[in-house]
Symmetry: C3
Subunit: 154 residues, 3 copies
Amino acid sequence: MNTADQNFDALRLNLPPAPKPLGVYKPCLIDGKYLYVSGHGTVQDDGSLIMGRIGDTMTAEEGKLAARQVGLAILSTIKTNLGSLNKVKRVIKVLGMVNCKPDFEKHPFIINGCSELFAKVWGDDNGVGVRSAVGMGSLPGNIPVEIEALFELF
Amino acid sequence: MNTADQNFDALRLNLPPAPKPLGVYKPCLIDGKYLYVSGHGTVQDDGSLIMGRIGDTMTAEEGKLAARQVGLAILSTIKTNLGSLNKVKRVIKVLGMVNCKPDFEKHPFIINGCSELFAKVWGDDNGVGVRSAVGMGSLPGNIPVEIEALFELF
Amino acid sequence: MNTADQNFDALRLNLPPAPKPLGVYKPCLIDGKYLYVSGHGTVQDDGSLIMGRIGDTMTAEEGKLAARQVGLAILSTIKTNLGSLNKVKRVIKVLGMVNCKPDFEKHPFIINGCSELFAKVWGDDNGVGVRSAVGMGSLPGNIPVEIEALFELF
């Protein structure tokens, strides 16, 4: 069985730089065997953010890719702070927040962009936790997706 | 003292079918003595969803009933996955998310539809935890209420 | 080193009355070494709530002060229920929910009003946890900010 780091390498995706806090908070925090991860945004390889509102300036497909980018930003925070994705045993919980028009209805489709990435890295059982995927009124810097998460560590 | 299952039976309410995931997540996840429950929607007895926006196509009273239906869907997930409501010791946390017009102000009234159900099942102390009841910009499939929860198990 | 209570006293700020639940929930709940705190609103010294929507009837600066007031309400709940702020070891997680116009982008700035208060009370390390700062569609009673939190106790 491959490790999480090996699984990620096989995807041939780039990790963006681990985002620096935009306010008074920590990007992640370890409490015993738990890793809490702050709400992450759509950080790209050059450090800039994907911006837009789904159903308005952005399609659902673009939104799903944006959610995958948020997942990559979370992976980058884990790798930068813990040294390896292998330190994570499993995903416990994901809160996927979508910046979209009030009549948008496909939030689960959007957040799958992140959840499918986690499932590829940690596997179909350990990489999948509980989740809520919901529509916000707005998000910081007009990013289309923000995701916070809770992981169990080895 | 009655058990949670006995308390629920005394309410003479139907449990809807336990909802299947609409994306890459688990309906619930056990971690030690904790049960994490994904965001649940307004699943009815025939498996269909109550849809609508509170303050727009739906009254507050209808919204409160919809929140009770979300509570029933959560009970169904617990019963299906754990076999009995008696496995739950107490409610720790509820996040109640309301799909409503921007000028709606009675979110706590809506989410009480779920919280009052939990209080009847597990009692006025163990059935009541911390809570936030807030207004979203939108919810999946235009459901009026989505609720996620954390329980402590025996 | 000063205690949290001493740090708070040095700020010369008033604690509002601990808010009573507006629905079926507990203001806070202790589970082992964790303190869960319900979503709190902008309770003022006379018990009334600051109301308004940021970017609409309220400026960002007013919103940041409102978030500080929410932080004070949380401190009041802790002091009322645990007797002292010294019982808290550290902030684990904050969810900062902002009631604002859809085009508002400075949510982290708003929620810093609460986070900076916590950092002054429990210090720059223990007083700072993970966080999400996001925009809601609406909040109960049209309050501008609602914040829920998780603390670790000594």
